[in-house]
């Protein structure tokens, strides 16, 4: 699965980093960045949770 992040929408809540630290980090302004663009099954649940808790609907999961 592919993870997509629209940094323009991000409000720097840090929720994605809390639930999926292996996939998300924050830049110097607190805006989310992707550490990985493609994820395997091991991280799928974490990223699904990040999609669910992101307040700004900035994260998407897409089938490849």
């Amino acid at each position: 699965m592919k993870v997509e992040l629209e940094a323009d929408k991000c409000v720097a809540s840090g929720q994605c980093v809390l639930v999926a630290m292996d996939v998300f980090d924050q830049d110097d302004d607190g805006i989310a960045i992707l550490l990985k663009q493609e994820i395997g099954d091991d991280l799928l649940d974490d990223v699904k949770e990040a999609v669910a808790v992101c307040p700004a609907a900035a994260i998407r999961l897409v089938e490849q």
Partner: protein, 409 residues
């Protein structure tokens, strides 16, 4: 005809008033009348203190959808915006939380950096030291003692001072004024005077940092003035927002959370006996969900017609998201009225949702994790020094909590 008239009159009076009294067997539960509205439907009309009507959004899914909708405005000057109380009318805007994008995003992004998860994590040892120091003082002092005054309020106050860069020697002035600003029994004059004094103080601190920048948030805000991105007044309002936002909220989560735990001894035991930071973190999320201290709803004005849940909310109408019952929505949380520190409560809306979701949430989480993970272990016999019936709850304040909490051990 007569029937129709009676019917109409009946309908008019049938619009429930909001907020409703919080008389409940359990002071930790939302008003029962509010729960009843939730079972009637996701959207209901309510009547506010000034006679105006607004939509009350009772369910989690619709609350999240609307808080994330760009046709929904946080600007208090918009037609239809439901004001909380007469006390709110005429008050100035509290920086970017009352603005819409793009200006909201522009200003909010200026202060997001220090609240990034890893930066907040780096502050944890300092917060631990503050908490340990206050517990040392508690244990060395007389009992019973008011936990609000001696512990719950100083923590967010000391932490935000640290973050903003308020010099240590000014802590007293700072704490006294913020206490008045968030004290619900303060008169409007007292609150106005305290707010002006704090604003004046912060404006002065910001001014100093324009010429002598330091490594703190006030210097970061000052740099925006130099860069022409903020006026001095906007910068001061922003500093004041940061100062106020974390105070009452975190303090009430500490005091009310402790009271709730004292009345759920099996849950308190879990915290007292664990060394697992994951359990402490999940306890914080569950208490945020369960207590939901912002109990008067999140308010917005609708700028374009929105169709939702079979209704059309019209442009110019107000909506109030009753997030405290959203957090008790049985569609989302099993057995929602039960406090269960082991459940996964992360999807709660205690910090709101959408672009205005609380900026300080990583800080709030970390402070509460340190407190909940320390206090009950270090004072295992902690107990309330008054019966529950004698505790004064903040039913009339914007943030729910207790006025004081005498404790002993």
């Amino acid at each position: 005809m007569a029937d129709t008239l009676t019917g109409a009159a009946h309908d008019a009076t049938a619009v429930p008033e909001f907020p409703m009294p919080r008389q409940s067997r359990c002071p930790f539960d939302p008003p029962p009348a509010l729960k009843e509205l939730q079972s009637e439907g996701p959207l209901v009309k309510v009547r506010l203190w000034d006679g105006s009507e607004s939509w009350l959004v009772t369910r989690y899914a619709e609350q999240r959808a609307l808080l994330g909708d760009p046709r929904v405005s946080a600007d208090t000057d918009r037609p239809g915006y439901p004001t909380k109380a007469s006390a709110e009318a005429g008050e100035g805007k509290l920086s970017f939380i009352m603005m819409d994008d793009p200006e909201h995003a522009r200003q909010r992004r200026m202060v997001t950096a220090p609240f990034a998860v890893k930066k907040i994590e780096a502050l944890r040892p300092k917060v631990q030291k503050i908490v340990d120091g206050l517990i040392d003082d508690l244990l060395a002092g007389p009992k019973p003692v008011d936990l609000v005054d001696a512990f719950a309020l100083p923590i967010p106050s000391l932490v935000i001072c640290e973050l903003l860069g308020v010099p240590y020697e000014d802590h007293d002035l700072f704490q006294e004024n913020t206490k008045t600003m968030v004290r619900t029994t303060a008169t409007p004059e007292e609150r106005g005077a305290a707010t002006r004094e704090m604003a004046g103080y912060l404006a002065g601190q910001i001014g100093k940092r324009i010429t002598e920048p330091q490594d703190d948030m006030l210097s970061g805000i000052a740099a925006r003035i130099t860069a022409g991105e903020l006026t001095h007044q906007q910068a001061t309002e922003m500093a004041l927002l940061l100062l106020i936002a974390g105070h009452e909220t975190t303090a009430n989560m500490i005091a009310l959370g402790t009271l709730a735990l004292l009345h759920h001894p099996d849950q308190l035991k879990l915290l007292r006996e664990t060394d697992d930071p994951k359990l402490v973190a999940s306890a914080v999320e569950e208490l945020l969900r369960y207590l939901h201290i912002t109990h008067l709803g999140r308010r917005r004005a609708v700028t374009e017609d929105i169709e939702i849940a079979g209704q059309v909310i019209k442009a110019g109408e107000g909506i109030i998201m009753a997030n405290e019952i959203g957090n008790r929505d049985p569609e989302v949380f099993d057995d929602p009225d039960r406090l269960d520190l082991t459940r996964d409560a992360r999807r709660h809306v205690a910090f709101g949702f959408g672009i205005h979701q609380c900026l300080g949430q990583p800080l709030a989480r970390m402070e509460l994790q340190v407190v909940y993970g320390t206090l009950y272990k270090r004072i295992p016999t902690l107990k309330a020094a008054v019966p529950l019936d004698d505790v004064r709850f903040k039913t009339d304040a914007f943030i729910y909590g207790v006025h004081e909490l005498p404790v002993s051990w």
